[in-house]
């Protein structure tokens, strides 16, 4: 299974590459008034306006860095009653993918799955990487947003 690695705060997270549509650079966002802080704004993605969720802001209350490696991950997500929606997730250091021997997702625990991958290749092989579960981490109301309120 191919995983995309990124950083939120000082920790690394991994997302299953199968649900990713595209990883794109930071673009200009249209701010939306009266939305939670973690909604960074709307982006024009291939002609459709989709909300961009700042994962750093959501999980650590610190906005993502303004840097080349801060990128937007476009994912497809299944939502009950409204089918598949596109979400744009902004995270730091979206620079690496890693191939694991895992075939399926490990069972997830409570709110944040305690699934930790004992590191990948490289000098910090002892690093623990946490499984990123879109459904568990993104607030439910954010899914409903693209369908139009």
């Amino acid at each position: 299974m191919l995983l995309l690695l990124f950083e939120i705060g000082s920790d690394r997270y991994a997302l299953d590459a199968r649900q990713i549509v595209e990883v794109v650079p930071l673009v200009r966002l249209k701010l939306i008034p009266n939305t939670p802080d973690h909604i960074a704004g709307l982006m024009n993605y291939r002609g459709a306006a989709i909300p961009v969720i700042d994962l750093c802001r959501l999980l650590t209350a610190v906005p993502c860095e303004n840097s080349f490696s801060t990128r937007i991950i476009i994912v497809k997500h299944q939502v009950e009653n409204s089918g598949e929606v596109s979400l744009a997730l902004m995270a730091n250091n979206v620079t690496e993918t890693v191939q694991t021997s895992l075939e399926a997702l490990p069972p997830s625990g409570t709110i944040m799955a305690e699934t930790l991958y004992g590191g990948v290749s490289g000098p910090d092989a002892s690093e623990l990487i946490q499984w990123f579960d879109v459904k568990k981490i993104i607030p439910e109301k954010d899914f409903l947003f693209p369908a139009g309120e």
Partner: protein, 228 residues
């Protein structure tokens, strides 16, 4: 951008693999090349941490607002080779390997034009057939004098697998794998008939080469019909 510390010690140019001087980095003994060195990787990461300039954001905003440019997706790949004077293509998925030509051990008591004999490939015996004889290309003459000189010394053996049955056949020249879209394939001229028409789906024009795209299933049926 100005406030960011962008001073980079380009040690790879100074003492690394790209240095012209005689003084070399001691780490080179371990990492062999700067691209394996953590210092090099770390500098790359630091550059990625710098803020992008406004033009970069603007450009990408524009690119992403547009429809995605897509390449034709229904690409087909064929393995292209020459036998005699004809360039032919077989679906790339069925080609298992290409090996140098080895001796062909003929089988006694078998009178078949297409069946050449057995070849030893990695210690296993494979059936060796002649694609040219099935398609009627550059017929070999018994005395050998009228042979196409290029055909007399096939350089390689191609091992193809059809329904789990590997078959080897000699080819004069290989061109490798070629990708194409359905629009690039030309119909066969109506004047072509007989065996060639039966085994060819169309003609792929590639530069000045006309490649006959072979129907793999009927061809392999014909190649192996004498093996029962």
């Amino acid at each position: 951008m100005e406030t960011q510390d962008l001073t980079i010690d380009d040690c790879w140019n100074r003492i690394g693999i790209w240095s012209r001087g005689t003084e070399k980095c001691p780490s080179l003994a371990d990492v062999i090349h700067c691209r394996n060195c953590p210092v090099f990787a770390e500098t790359g990461r630091r550059l990625l941490r710098t803020p992008p300039h406004e033009g970069y954001r603007r450009e990408w905003t524009r690119i992403l607002a547009d429809e995605k440019e897509t390449k034709p997706l229904n690409l087909t790949s064929v393995f292209v080779f020459r036998t005699g004077s004809e360039w032919l293509g077989l679906p790339a998925a069925m080609i298992r390997e290409i090996v140098p030509m080895g001796p062909i051990h003929s089988l006694p008591n078998i009178s078949s034009d297409s069946l050449r004999g057995l070849v030893n490939i990695h210690g296993r015996l494979h059936i060796c057939v002649s694609i040219g004889s099935v398609l009627g290309i550059a017929k070999r003459t018994r005395n050998g004098e009228e042979r196409d000189p290029a055909y007399s010394a096939p350089a390689r053996l191609v091992v193809a697998v059809q329904e789990n049955r590997p078959v080897a056949f000699p080819v004069t020249e290989t061109r490798g794998i070629v990708h194409f879209t359905p629009e690039m394939v030309k119909e066969l001229p109506v004047t072509v008939s007989g065996t060639k028409a039966a085994y060819t789906t169309g003609i792929l024009q590639l530069g000045n080469l006309d490649i006959g795209l072979l129907k793999d299933k009927p061809l392999f049926k014909a190649l192996t019909k004498d093996l029962k």
